[in-house]
Amino acid sequence: MTVRRTNGDNLFIRYLILGSWALFCLVPVLWFLSIGFRPRTEIITARPIYLPTLSLDAWHMIWSDWPMAKYLRNSVAAIFGSVAIDLALAIPAAYSLARYDYKGKEDIGFYIPSTRMMAPAIVAIPIFFLFRNMGLLDTIWALMLIYAAINLSIVTWIIRSYMTDIPKEIEDAARIDGAGDLRILWEITIPAVRPGIITAAVIAMVFAINEFLFTLLIASTPDAYTLSVALANFTGGSDGLIYNAIALVAFLAFVPVFLVVAAIQRHLSRGLTMGAIKG
């Protein structure tokens, strides 16, 4: 009996700690949600209003006064496009790093993540000129490319660590059974590392949707605005700061990622820890 009670207490304390932590992390989210659905007059007050009046003003405003649907479409296109580019390049690269032996392999393996080590501002100006010369400024194609470039290293790295974990015997078996290199990659290796590919893709999506600096640099009109840059544009103009609209747009940018992450939570935690150990 005593043993059971200690266990129960333990469990209760665990839930208490984890619950408090979750609440602590979620408070900002709940708070900006409550800001989004309250009238402007209740936002900036001497004392915070914890139970505001429900108002859909900001909700109507973001859809009627701004091309929100377009921003959303731009975001989605740029993000999915960039993830597609990343996977197309990272899977063969990761396979090569995980499976073949060649001179300089370890160095190349290091150069890839090293692209993440420098401050993005350093390359901002060169990248601006690069895209201007290519005539891609203010297009979602440019966003796709830049997001893909930013995330390629981490995507490669995650997939590589999954591939390294697959016993080489399986590929040897496939070779003896009569499969060529591409066949093995397509039919054996890729299905076996599917959780890793999903993890990498989601992480790339999260980074892409939050990307701000390069998007601001490249997008100068609503043609290429994404949600993250659109957010910044609510902070100007004759109307002053429209905090409730900002809050709603931020929420719009947050929901899809949240849903995806929640859906694949199990894969994600495994992928992240594996990356941590292996990487």
Partner: protein, 354 residues
Amino acid sequence: MAHIQLRGIQKKWDTIWGVRDATIDIADEELLVLLGPSGCGKTTTLRMIAGLEEPTEGEITVDGQIINDVDARDRDVAMVFQGYALYPNMSIYENIRFPLRMRNIPRGTHDQRVREAADMVELGQFLDRKPAALSGGQCQRAALARAVVRQPRVFLMDEPLSNLDARLRQAMRVQIKRLRRHLKITTVYVTHDQIEAMTLADRIVVMDGGTIQQIGTPDEIYRDPANAFVASFIGAPPMNLINGEISHGRFHADNVEVQNVDIDTEGPVTLGVRPEDCSVVKSGASAHNLTGEVFGVEPTGDITFLTLKAGCGTMEIKASRDYRAELGAQETIAFDTDHLYFFDAQSGQRIRQS
């Protein structure tokens, strides 16, 4: 139908030798076992036959045709791996079917062939499952079915039973033997387990340190070992090796003496005597060879293992099932002098009777 020849095969990685100068002739339909401790080069040899490793030097031929440059997938061999190597994302059915698909065998025949192969290893009712839902023994049988499904020229097996427990190993050994008799395919089988080697092999190749120590039938390997390594590797418990000296036709070491040795050598030699060729005799018996102190007694039911400590080292003896003794007691042992082996003290090479 395949007659495999390895001629002067060498494998070297930078400065590390994998296999040195291996020459093996594998007859059609033969089951050849490569036996040795880990790191002896047996798996490397097998992988070179499979085409997964390239020999640094030497030729591999199948039916007289050199296959060194033939890609693994074009060699028409099938291999069973130690870790099963089933494709985790495919059902057992798809696993077994995979080699048929890869080799463009007419689709219409697939279903029948997969089911036949699965039935051969009694796996018929598990075809829908994924490998993760199968036990080790079932996985290994699935791997066997995948190997037999397209009836290759050569079977290669890399320690296929070493991940299984003892009872299952025995059952699978019988299954492999039956399967082979039925299919009549040349087979090269790698193991470190001498029981597997003795029970399955037509011939055994004993390897150590990348070098072939002896090639022979299980009987030859057991009865007529070429050197001290082979002698001590085959047999459970292994052959007792006693370092001593021969002078005037008499072998002696601490607590050990053998009269009328029929070899011509004088000086230091190693005497080999199998545990089954030792018997416990009454103390003071006229014909005894060794005295020692009882160090351990392990009754196993049908036989009792006796460990003796003598001046020359520790001796393993197979005693009768009724044998019992107190630890520390003195025992007297007689050797079956028809089954003694002498090895060069330095090289370990067998010194044969004159």
